[in-house]
């Protein structure tokens, strides 16, 4: 009687026990070695939640154990369920039906699993049924989820928007919205971009006006809004009539009703599973978040920084997935009688891909650590106003560092993901250009990451101040206080590059005219990024011989890059600056 042996039927190759945390040795390496004790101590503040919430940790070891267990569940859902659905989600895409967004079946299914697993409140406080996990763990999660499907953005959005509201919203706003975000019963969006306000958000023109009773209303159009169909959104709008620029903008909380229409969905190159909406507000009632006129300068900037970290994680995940596909293909593909992985041209590509992914990962965790330190210190200041002075110096330092590192990691990881996915197709050859392998999807999905939440060019603008003003030098000095005796020679090599970099920093300041630093800004930021990564790799090398070899290759390739930039900046004539008009007309 084998009539009902349906339990053995395969269902879309699921249940194959893939776990995107446990199969990733580099993430596990970092989870074991990362220095997060102080982050936990601040985040859990004397582990006081343990008395009220049975799932709150009682000490540092307990917190770390919980992080690992929860990440492993995310790894399992991502590997076992989301990844096998990614190609289908990409093909099915999203649809606008009678003004409502319809997600791909797979997206909906996995969203439901995330909600049921209580994951949607990952970084929200426990009083709103969140997990109270730090940004560094969110970075790990963002990568794992995006490795499975680069278009699965709702999980990350929920954290960015939830955290922003948690930081700046009123108690009433928080109580109404945050438990719903944590349970996953509602989705959300950040509504910033307009047809004439992309990179330049100061030009935002969506009108917010206040009725005699004090109620705020929105009128106008927003464009390119990821998940604009979300029930809850944070909207940047012009509240001060006649006042141009950032000072005229405020931040509003909108709950979806009949006063907002989704006019259309964009047809995009990649991330097909994620709806990109054009929205029309018609007297839509909203409530003000925080103070008037601080919409862009304070709240949007905070939200964007949080989202930038998420996108650095997303890009890393897409790159990781593309690398694994390429490595697998290169091992299996036989040409000229051997696997193509054995040819120098291919294994060099693979090695560079892997090293740049590991570079992006260590940089991401370092950045998230700074962000966690900063946020933790701000929370401590709020909780203990009388001890404000005690936290002041550290807070200033970590604010500077997170403001510098966030654009750096966003730029590095997203450009890296584009390069890695490009090379992944190259390793596949003609096959990679076809749709039956995942790499063409990765290539398309990666392409948005260095555009949205600020293009790489804008990340350079955000980072260059910290590079030229000394923040970069001060963090390098700090790294110098660490013990690099396990890799003395590599450290000496690194110092040569640092010397070139510092010489360049001094040199650019001597050149007259504001255009000169702007012209070289990207090169300067990239030199700084190279050096920071080299320091982080030396630090990682203390725990692993393999990491020492990774550092060795990275530093060997970095030295001439930094030298070349130094030479171009200091010895070049900047002829492009003088002549570009004649060339491009």
């Amino acid at each position: 009687m084998t009539l009902f042996r349906s339990s053995s039927k395969p269902s879309r190759q699921r249940g194959s026990m893939e776990n995107f945390l446990l199969d990733n040795e580099d993430i596990l390496f970092h989870l074991e070695n990362m220095d997060i004790d102080r982050i936990i101590t601040q985040k859990e503040d004397k582990f006081r939640d343990a008395k009220r919430y049975p799932y709150a940790p009682v000490d540092i070891a307990d917190a770390r154990d919980s992080y690992n267990k929860v990440l492993s569940i995310i790894g399992e859902i991502s590997g076992d369920t989301l990844a096998p659905l990614a190609a289908e989600i990409d093909e099915e895409g999203v649809e606008l039906i009678n003004g409502e967004v319809k997600y791909a079946k797979g997206t909906k299914e996995v969203l439901d699993i995330f909600a049921k697993a209580d994951l949607m409140g990952f970084s929200l406080p426990r009083k709103y049924n969140g997990l109270n996990f730090p940004a560094i763990m969110l970075s790990v999660a963002a990568e794992i989820v995006s490795r499975a499907d680069g278009s699965f953005l709702n999980f990350g959005l929920q954290q960015d928007i939830g955290e922003t509201l948690n930081k700046f919203g009123s108690d009433k706003q928080k109580q109404e919205v945050l438990p719903q975000l944590a349970s996953g019963e509602i989705g959300c969006a950040m509504i910033l971009t307009e047809p004439d306000a992309g990179s330049d958000l100061q030009a935002v023109n969506l009108r917010a006006h206040q009725s005699a009773s004090g109620q705020w209303f929105l009128n106008g159009v927003k464009r390119f809004i990821t998940n604009g169909n979300g029930e809850i959104s944070l909207v940047l709008a012009r509240s001060e009539e006649g006042q141009t620029g950032a000072r005229g903008l405020s931040f509003f909380l909108y709950r979806r009703d009949e006063h907002m229409k989704i006019r259309r969905l964009e047809h995009k190159l990649g991330i097909h599973g994620s709806p990109t909406c054009e929205l029309q507000f018609n007297n839509a009632p909203v409530v003000l978040v925080g103070e008037r006129k601080r919409g862009l300068s304070k709240y949007t900037m905070w939200l964007m920084n949080s989202a930038r970290l998420g996108i650095a994680g997303q890009a890393l995940g897409i790159a990781e997935s593309a690398y694994r596909e390429a490595d697998k293909y290169a091992s299996e593909r036989i040409q000229f009688g051997k696997s193509v992985r054995e040819f120098p041209a291919v294994y060099e590509m693979l090695t560079e891909m892997k090293i740049s992914i590991e570079a992006g990962r260590t940089l991401l965790y370092e950045t998230a650590r700074f962000v966690d330190m900063k946020e933790g210190l701000e929370e401590m200041q709020e909780r203990y106003p009388d001890r404000k002075a005690e936290f002041k110096t550290d807070l200033k330092r970590y604010s500077r560092l997170s403001n510098l590192f966030t654009p750096i990691v966003k730029a590095y990881n997203t450009e890296m993901a584009n390069k890695v996915t490009y090379d992944a197709i190259q390793i596949h050859g003609g096959t990679g250009y076809m749709q039956e392998f995942g790499v063409e999807r990765h290539y398309r999905d990666a392409r948005i990451t260095n555009i949205y939440e600020g293009t790489t060019q804008l990340q350079v603008v955000a980072a260059i101040g910290g590079v030229t003003s000394g923040t970069v030098i001060s963090i390098m000095d700090e790294y110098e206080s660490e013990d690099f005796s396990h890799a003395e020679n590599l450290h000496k090599e690194l110092l040569k590059a640092r010397h070139d970099f510092e010489k360049t920093l001094v040199g650019v300041k001597d050149v007259e005219g504001p255009d000169f630093v702007t012209y070289h800004a990207r090169r300067l930021v990239e030199m700084a990024t190279d050096l920071i990564i080299a320091y982080l790799m030396l630090r990682d090398a203390a725990h692993s011989d393999r990491k020492k070899k990774v550092a060795e290759i990275f530093i060997e390739k970095m030295l001439p890059r930094v030298k070349m930039s130094a030479s171009f900046i200091l010895e070049g004539k900047a002829s492009l600056l003088a002549n570009y008009k004649e060339v491009i007309g």
Partner: protein, 293 residues
């Protein structure tokens, strides 16, 4: 007013991820090399119970498993997914139990839980594939049973009645029956929910503890105390008042004579109607060609 629900679950070797060394030379399963998992259809049975709990506030889901101490893992998994009470029946005297002895022990444990409305089992376990323990347990409890349930259509708490969809050859039938009842659940209608990470963090350190004092529900209301570390009840043969002669090897008439690996070739299928006459005819046919007997 909620329902009292009991789910019988089993930890089994993962027979779907089998390596070359999965069988010992004597033809028995080499449990040491196979990862132990939650029997797949039992997860569906658990889900069916949890869905009823979600739909009927005030309901409680009790989980019982019999096995070695390592079987606490399926109980933890049950807690992670939403179970309220879990018990491991474990005793050296249960060792070597066949389906008869197992269902006897489970019956004793169910009676220890006390009042219940519905007992859920997976349709069958992937290690033995007998599909006998559920039906036998119902027999021993002296209650009704519906096997191969793919969906619970309706529950009437006032009338204490259930309507369930039962998969049969070529379709399904809807069966209505009074509580208490035992259901064996297929993997069709109740895809298991994921573990809740909040519950994982709550119960991750749960361990089995002997509860000689018997069934104790007091912890359910005091969930804020860090009760999680002792959330798993451990019941031995005395705790469930089982007769030692009916347990383990002593209570198991099944004796494995020999195990042989047979590769089945598909031949003609003969359909037998679900009537006394047809079944009796088939049994006689099998006896006469010496397949049985």
């Amino acid at each position: 007013m909620g329902l009292n629900l009991i789910v019988l679950v089993k930890q089994v070797p993962d027979t779907q991820n089998v390596g070359g060394d999965a069988m010992k030379e004597d033809g028995t399963v080499n449990r040491a090399v196979l990862p132990a998992i939650f029997n797949p259809e039992d997860l569906h049975a658990l889900e069916a119970a949890l869905v009823l709990k979600d739909e009927n506030p005030g309901s409680k889901v009790h989980i019982i498993t019999m096995g070695p101490p390592s079987a606490v893992q399926v109980l933890k998994d049950s807690l992670y997914r939403g179970a309220d009470f879990v018990a491991l029946i474990s005793d050296r005297k249960f060792a070597g139990a066949d389906t008869l002895a197992t269902s006897y022990a489970l019956k004793c444990a169910i009676e220890k839980v006390g009042d219940y409305d519905i007992v859920f089992c997976g349709r069958q376990a992937i290690d033995g594939d007998t599909a006998q323990v559920g039906p036998q347990t119902a027999e021993k409890l002296g209650i009704n049973q519906i096997t191969n349930v793919s969906k619970i259509e309706n529950i009437d708490i006032k009338k204490k009645e259930i309507e369930a969809r039962r998969s049969i050859e070529g379709g399904y039938e809807i069966i209505k029956a009074p509580f208490p009842i035992l259901l064996t659940v297929t993997d069709e209608g109740y895809p298991p929910r994921p573990p809740s990470v909040i519950r994982v963090m709550t119960y991750k350190n749960a361990s089995a503890e002997m509860t000689e004092a018997g069934y104790d529900e007091s912890y359910i209301d005091s969930s804020i105390d860090r009760i999680s570390e002792t959330a798993i009840n451990l019941w031995d043969i005395n705790a469930i008042n089982a007769d030692v002669e009916s347990c383990g090897l002593a209570g198991s008439p099944t004796k494995v004579k020999e195990i042989e690996s047979i590769i089945l070739k598909s031949e003609d299928i003969k359909m037998v109607e679900n009537t006394e006459d047809s079944i009796s005819g088939m049994v006689h046919e099998l006896i006469s060609d010496h397949t049985l007997g």
